[in-house]
């Protein structure tokens, strides 16, 4: 019920936006039905349910594991890039569980990189001259992994991943173009399970990235 109200509210925001811009023709369906979707409104592209190596089983130690493959994505085209292109400049960001790669260093041949900006997505419109764009040097990545280090916090008591509000990923694409990206949810349908949800639900609905980005 609440979710529907939110979606209606979002749809209203979008439609009112359309009323005063003419750069798009058809109305965009922004509802999040749990499937992968990319749409652009104005200069902001939204991505829903980008699957990032969902859990397929348990390790010998009882830890949930995926297949180990990254999902590659091009910020320039707004599309998923096949894994066979992982060694090319075709992709800009890649996702696997909570790990995010950029196309440079140990991750790829591109001129990519990233840093994490603390602030609001709407307020940041350029790379900060004082911030260093870092490149991946596995196992240390430009966007740090680990709870409370990069983009997310892990609540171990409830086994949930939550994006830290006010973290904007400043990403340099493989060709050096600059983007800002904000993750809003890590679960299928863009809804974090309740803390009281079963582990089975928490495991089966995680690793679905929901985010928005803009070219700078």
């Amino acid at each position: 019920m609440k979710k529907n109200q939110i979606l209606i509210a979002m749809a209203m925001v979008v439609s009112s936006f359309y009323a005063c811009t003419e750069d798009n023709t058809a109305t965009v369906d922004t509802t999040n039905n749990g499937t992968f979707k990319v749409y652009t409104v104005g200069n902001i592209t939204s991505v829903q349910n980008l699957i990032a190596d969902t859990i397929v089983g348990m390790s010998a130690q009882g830890q949930p594991v995926g297949t180990g493959h990254f999902t590659f994505f091009s910020l320039r085209t707004g599309a998923i890039v096949p894994n066979t292109d992982s060694a090319t400049n075709n992709w800009d960001v890649a996702f696997r569980g909570t790990t995010i790669l950029t196309n440079a260093g140990t991750s790829g041949p591109g001129a990519g990189g990233a840093y994490v900006h603390v602030g609001l997505f709407a307020d940041v419109n350029a790379f900060n001259a004082d911030s260093t764009v870092r490149t991946d040097a596995a196992p240390v990545y430009a966007i740090k992994t680990g709870s409370n280090k990069g983009w997310y916090v892990y609540d171990g008591a409830n086994n949930l991943i939550t994006p830290i509000p006010g973290r904007v990923l400043m990403i340099q694409a493989a060709n050096g173009a600059k983007y800002k990206l904000e993750i809003n949810n890590y679960y299928k349908g863009g809804v974090t399970p309740l803390t009281s949800a079963t582990d089975a639900i928490k495991l089966s609905t995680q690793r679905y990235y929901n985010f928005r980005y803009s070219a700078l």
């Binding site: 830890q63 709870s147 609540d155 509000p165 006010g166």
Partner: protein, 427 residues
């Protein structure tokens, strides 16, 4: 052992020497079939010697002062080595004066100075005043500073509960050492940001101000009202610092700087008839971490909007410390005569923050809360003879359960107790 020697030098000067010694041994072993063995050994020794001297100058002024020493030692397999005895020695002096400048006013001022072997010395002054306006109305005010030293558990604990999922609690002096060791053998899966804040644990200091009044218009009615404010520096709090490879949590203790609690407390007791009494109490409580308030005011704290994207958090969305309810109330009705009694108790707690749902590291209105609840308990009993007594009761009549947030609250519970007391020797 608790010997006391009192010597009256004169009817104005009295000196008391108190000695107190305990030795406590416990050995608990729990063997659950198919699970790990839970074993717990503890030896605790406590020695205290104290001398207090009281001097009555006149009806209006009296003094007392004293010195004392405490020696404490603990040995436990919950600490690193069961063979190592952890000890601490505290020497202290205190002095207090009580002055009655006028018949209706009493002023008490005093201090205590503790020299703690493990921590820096602490000075704790206090001043209190009580004004008896008339036979029905009393006012009191006090301000004092106190401290609470970390205990052995908070310093040295090295405990892994193998019987309950393998979570660990390490004392602040042990945590870094233990976690570094576990990490070196590949037994740590991740480290939390609070791990990097681990350091030597300091005592908690609290400054408390209390203003109160007591009104009893007649013998059957008493009304108490007080305003309180406690400013705590270096509040000691349990924090999650790392995870075992198994996913089990590792906790330790941190000084959480500069929190405050403030509020109002009221209590009304009415004896309607000699048999029937009613008591009602209410507490309003506000809490906060002052450093977090500073960060919010500086515009450094964000929360999420309906779509999950970040927006700035406002100060009015701040909740303060978790696990504390803003409103708490209790009500008690009792009926009692020579051979029959019954009572009804109602406890109410408003919602309280339990987890940081929006991921911003503090507690605000966008987070997860435990629901407000009321618990109603009823009991009745009858005394059949001097020896024999029967009682029936029902706890939690409303059958309120919240397993996640109130694991100790059982559902509706009926009980009966029969008590038979064997003849006692008459004194």
């Amino acid at each position: 052992m608790n010997p006391v020697i009192t010597h009256l030098f004169s009817n104005k000067l009295k000196s008391t020497l108190r000695l107190y010694a305990t030795n406590y041994n416990a050995d608990q072993s729990l063997n659950t079939s198919g699970k790990s063995i839970y074993d717990d050994k503890l030896n605790h020794q406590f020695l205290r010697a104290e001398n207090q001297t009281d001097y009555y100058l006149n009806d209006k002024v009296c003094f007392n002062a004293g010195v004392g020493m405490v020696q404490e030692g603990v040995k436990s397999n919950r600490y690193e080595l069961n063979s190592t005895r952890r000890t601490n020695n505290i020497a202290y002096v205190f002095a207090q004066t009580e002055i009655k400048p006028i018949e209706k006013l009493t002023i008490i001022a005093g201090f205590r100075y503790d020299n703690n072997q493990l921590f820096a010395a602490a000075f704790s002054p206090k001043i209190a005043a009580m004004l008896k306006a008339n036979d029905h109305l009393k006012f009191n005010a006090s301000i004092g500073r106190g401290f609470k030293a970390p205990d052995f558990r908070q310093l040295y604990l090295n405990f892994t509960n193998t019987a309950a999922g393998g979570y660990s609690v390490f004392g602040a002096l042990e945590a870094q050492k233990q976690i570094e060791f576990l990490q070196s053998i590949g037994q740590i899966s991740s480290i939390e940001s609070d791990y990097y804040r681990l350091k030597e644990l300091h005592p908690e200091y609290a400054t408390g101000i209390n203003l109160g009044l007591q009104y009893n218009p007649n013998a059957a009615v008493q009304f108490d009202f007080s305003l309180f404010r406690n400013d705590v520096e270096n509040l000691i709090d349990t924090r999650l610092v790392a995870y075992h490879k198994s996913g089990a949590q590792i906790f330790s203790y941190l000084n959480l700087k500069n929190a405050y609690t403030q509020g109002i407390e009221t209590q009304l007791n009415v004896k309607i008839t000699p048999q029937i009494a009613v008591a009602a109490g209410y507490q309003y409580l506000l809490t906060a971490d002052k450093d977090q308030i500073k960060e919010i005011k500086a515009g450094k704290i964000y929360t999420i909007d309906a779509s999950g994207f970040a927006r700035l958090m406002r100060l009015d969305e701040y909740i303060g410390l978790p696990n504390r309810s803003k409103h708490m109330a209790n009500f008690k009705f009792t009926y009692e005569n020579e051979n029959y009694f019954t009572n009804l108790r109602v406890l109410f707690r408003s919602k309280w923050a339990v987890s940081d749902k929006d991921g911003n590291g503090l507690y605000n209105t966008n987070d997860a809360f435990a629901n407000a609840f009321a618990q109603i308990n009823f009991a009745a009993g009858k005394q059949f003879s001097k020896q024999f007594r029967a009682q029936v009761g029902c706890d939690n009549i409303g059958n309120y359960v919240d397993i996640a947030n109130l694991p100790n609250l059982a559902g509706r519970t009926f009980y009966t107790t029969l008590t038979y007391q064997f003849n006692q020797k008459k004194k």
